[in-house]
Symmetry: C2
Subunit: 597 residues, 2 copies
């Protein structure tokens, strides 16, 4: 039989007791982390969210209690009362905060039992992620998970405190809203009162925060769940958390400098790290040229060099044809990589293949000269130009990709990261933050044969490019900015369009008819006609920031109840079938049904 909690009153948390408490009578409650019988005396490590304390149940104090204690197993829930004593010399445990003391108990309640565990509640978890998610209530007892979740709590508080102190107003925006698909798919919610109609869960509060600026709230923020029904890539979740804000009567620098203060304060208060601000700024074009990506990891070198000009004039047909056909040729000097074996080079060739590159040319700079399958196609002058451009030295290996611009950049930016990791060039303790600015306003969607907004269609084009909206949309730059941390985009935003005439022009460029635009975004177009102020804002990915700050590879490690890659909650079994009556009430029928798993 279990004991009643009754009138038990906890006096301390387990991890709080110190030498100073010796002699005090304390009441503790928690979980049995481990238990051992040592010469008839039972030692229990009792654990709560603050840490562990050694509990001693000795026949000297009570024979009966000791017998009961012997039946206690891991993860039982106990409430105990007893006296704090100094541990005997030599038995201290410096690994835990309470290691100098122990509690001799004279009262012990077994409040609950535990069945044998599917995996031990250890820091060093060996269970697969599926088992961990299935038994999330046990997995969350692990020290690292407790630390992550508590860190996340602290992150929320610092973020909101900063916003509050800087005059931002926290305003909740709706979750049941209108479907305005653009980019990702919406999650839909059938309406019962309006059969045949649907709400959509918001992909972001974008339009609402703009409406709030039109309403004159001046500065808005919210930490808010957003939803995207995407085929889940590596480390995405169908529901994720954004730090969302918007400001009126501002320019890029106002939004960016607030964002910098926020990030600086997060690092200072949570990790005691000093981030120097203002952050470096790099244009999109420069980032693409030097790193092949708009989210460069600047913690290490291995920058990309462009040799399209040399390629265009050389005799190596592969290079020349690419250069002449509008493609580019870029490369990386992998310093000291000349010792790579043929097999290793073959693997790297396969690797860039994943990103669409049809080959990976290379030149080794050996002490006895160049070694390369392609060097014979170049004149000595050309080779020297290449070596010079890459600042090649003995011991280096140069890699080249020639292809369409996107393919080259995509392949080489990934190759750069791989080589950086291989060579141990990435200092995990570095915090490299920077801004990427001057993004193109539009990108060409080949499938749909139309321009689409690179960020979103509410982003303001640069003032000086407005006249090119109709004639040359591809050259129009956006007033957008992304913040990049160690090669990960952690946030992005823009100055928005506040004039209805310009907003209508943008809709036209992306191929929305007036009617379509009105149907989807009518309320925004309308709002812009009644006195919309200049405004701009940003959103940070909270899950991602939290995972980086906790040094976790996956955002699932900083989310209490995450979903799997296939969008399932293994704890609750969601999504699941529902009762027929529920569907009838909504007036919908299921066409195809997935096989019962």
């Amino acid at each position: 039989m279990l004991d009643h909690f009754g009138d038990f009153e906890r006096t301390h948390y387990c991890g709080e007791l110190r030498k100073e408490n010796v002699g005090e009578r304390v009441s503790l409650a928690g979980w049995v982390d481990s238990t051992r019988d040592h010469g008839g005396v039972v030692f229990i490590d009792l654990r709560d969210r603050t840490g562990k304390i050694q509990i001693v149940v000795s026949p000297e104090i009570s024979q009966e209690l000791t017998e009961r204690a012997k039946k206690i197993r891991d993860e039982f829930v106990l409430a105990v009362k007893g006296e704090v004593r100094k541990r005997p010399e030599g038995t201290e445990n410096p690994k835990i905060s309470t290691g100098e003391v122990e509690v001799y108990v004279d009262e012990l309640k077994i409040l609950n039992r535990s069945e044998p565990l599917p995996f031990p509640v250890d820091d060093d978890v060996k269970a697969g992620e599926d088992v961990r998610l299935r038994y999330r209530f046990l997995d969350l007892r692990r020290k690292k998970m407790q630390e992550n979740i508590i860190f996340r709590h602290r992150l929320y508080q610092v973020v909101r405190k900063t916003f509050d102190e800087e005059g931002f107003i926290e305003i909740e925006t709706p979750f049941l809203t209108k479907s305005t698909p653009e980019g990702a798919r919406d999650f839909l919610v059938p309406s019962r009162m309006h059969q045949g109609k649907f709400y959509a869960l918001p992909q972001s509060p974008q339009l609402f925060k703009q409406i709030l600026m039109v309403s004159g709230f001046d500065k808005y923020f919210q930490i808010v769940k957003c939803f995207r029904d995407e085929d889940l890539r590596a480390d995405r979740q169908p529901e994720f958390t954004q730090i969302d804000f918007e400001m009126s009567f501002v320019k890029e620098k106002d939004v960016m400098s607030f964002a910098e203060r926020l990030i600086k304060r997060i690092y200072r208060e949570l990790l005691d790290i000093d981030v120097e601000i203002p952050l470096p700024v790099m244009t999109y074009d420069e980032a693409m040229e030097r790193f092949g990506t708009d989210r460069p990891d600047t913690r290490f070198g291995l920058e990309l060099k462009n040799i399209t000009d040399i390629a265009a004039e050389c005799n190596f047909k592969v290079f020349r044809m690419v250069a002449e056909g509008g493609g580019i040729v870029k490369g990386i000097n992998f310093k000291g990589g000349a010792s790579l074996s043929r097999k290793e080079i073959d693997e790297l060739t396969k690797f860039v293949g994943i990103y669409g590159a049809k080959g990976l040319a290379w030149i080794k700079v050996n002490p006895d000269g160049l070694q390369s399958p392609i060097v014979k196609f170049f004149s000595e002058g050309e080779i020297n130009k290449i070596l010079e451009r890459f600042e090649a030295e003995t011991g280096d290996i140069l890699f080249f990709v020639a292809d369409k611009k996107d393919v080259v950049n995509h392949a080489l930016s990934n190759l750069r990261l791989k080589l950086g990791k291989m060579a141990g060039l990435i200092d995990e303790n570095k915090v490299n933050l920077l801004w990427i600015t001057d993004f193109p306003m539009f990108e060409w969607n080949e499938d749909e044969n139309r321009w689409e907004a690179l960020h979103h269609p509410f982003t303001s084009p640069k003032e000086e490019d407005i006249e090119k909206l109709e004639t040359d949309p591809g050259s129009v730059k956006a007033r957008a900015y992304d913040m990049v941390l160690n090669g990960v985009e952690i946030g992005g935003g823009s100055i928005r369009i506040h004039r209805s005439d310009i907003q209508e022009k943008i809709f036209k460029v992306i191929g929305l008819s007036e009617e379509e635009a009105r149907d989807r975004f009518g309320f925004l177009i309308e709002a812009l006609k009644y006195g919309a102020p200049p405004h701009g804002g940003m959103a940070f990915g909270l899950d991602r920031i939290c995972s980086i700050l906790c040094k976790e590879d996956s955002i699932r490690e900083v989310i209490a109840f995450p979903k799997t890659q296939r969008g399932q909650c293994l704890l609750t079994g969601a999504p699941d079938t529902v009762r027929e009556e529920q569907l009838q009430e909504l007036g919908i029928t299921v066409e195809a049904e997935e096989e019962k798993e």
Copy 2:
């Protein structure tokens, strides 16, 4: 043409300027609240979220600027620069914070225009709610709405600060979860990756917060959106906000005293009102007996008196039959109400009819004796007992309802409120908070012919009643508590069940088979088997609390983007039809379609 915002830098908010700023050069931005031409000089009240300031555009400073200013209309967006001057003697406006000064501008940008307004942005709005919601971006510019939303912001911050300081951990629980219908209907979200399956939006994070206690987080909180697909009653929203918390190793008094500290602090910090704690506690039975409701408004008297005992022995057939048939007879002494006319009494009779009462008997205590259609059926002794029980005095009128217990209480509790309002007995400045405790665990569902949980099936029954679970469920009391503020339930909670054997018993009482219980709540039953601590918690309705604190009758006045009674967002037009492809991807079809409105 509109002016560019360019390099404009705001130096002050409009409402900030005071005498001390006289002589300073300032830059302001905001909306035109009103404009008037006074002898060729243009006066503009410029408004932002902090207040209004008078802007002067005078031909003395610039003829050209003045001509432009004459074309400015209400709600245009301006940016201005100029000098703060003291207003000429006699022209001060004590009604606004900046009333002693004005700004003479020498630079004026028209950043945006406004079309003629559907309704003026005035405090005293005359537009109907539909128009206000349709043009919410304008409605939110109104001073009272700005104050409400900013008050709500402050409410969030005080609440979170209190939780944080008391050691609660903020943890986000999922929005895409499993449908476990119990009570209200779930909103469903069709899964694309698992066709035929659905997520549900949470009605509350109840099960997740209990799981978090099993995980050892000890104290959890969250301000969180919840969802109920109900036919919307008077002042409900399909999505609403809860202040949700849970604590481990606690008893009722621990949860209640934290809740009291929270409410005390909210009143202190936001309204500078001192709430005395601990709050009074009243049992459910006492509340029902004295007020006919479990959320009594204790700001005034007019308590209900029970005369079932007298009725059972009297000669008035209507009363006696009710009393003998298991019903009750209760009444109210409406002090000083003997002057009510026959017509007024008829109206009150109709009023109690709404709540199911078949009649309203009455006795007037006139100076010249009793006046009543029923008094002739009673003996003098009976009448005296009745008058005594009601402490009736000359000038009073007694009202009686005889019926089934529920009907009597429902009718009289509403009559009591109506009489209290009629007689002006309710002091709107009073803050009457109290706890209701000792609720019944179950209530009988006549339609389904089964017991159901009055709160929810995870509520712990009182220790001493556990043995009656099988034999007499109707008499089992729950370890539940509701907080009532001026007659409104603002929060409720309970100590939960932490033992799987008791949880299984409860499921049995409410008629869930083992299989059904496992199917719906399997993960909770499982979690209780691996060391669940004693725990309990509570949830407050944030929208409701905020509306009461802002002295608003409707929660829609404290929600930025509320929905109508029919669940529609008039601003965005949600819910709406979606594209056929979206439904195809989800594998669902719409059966019946609502007529296009």
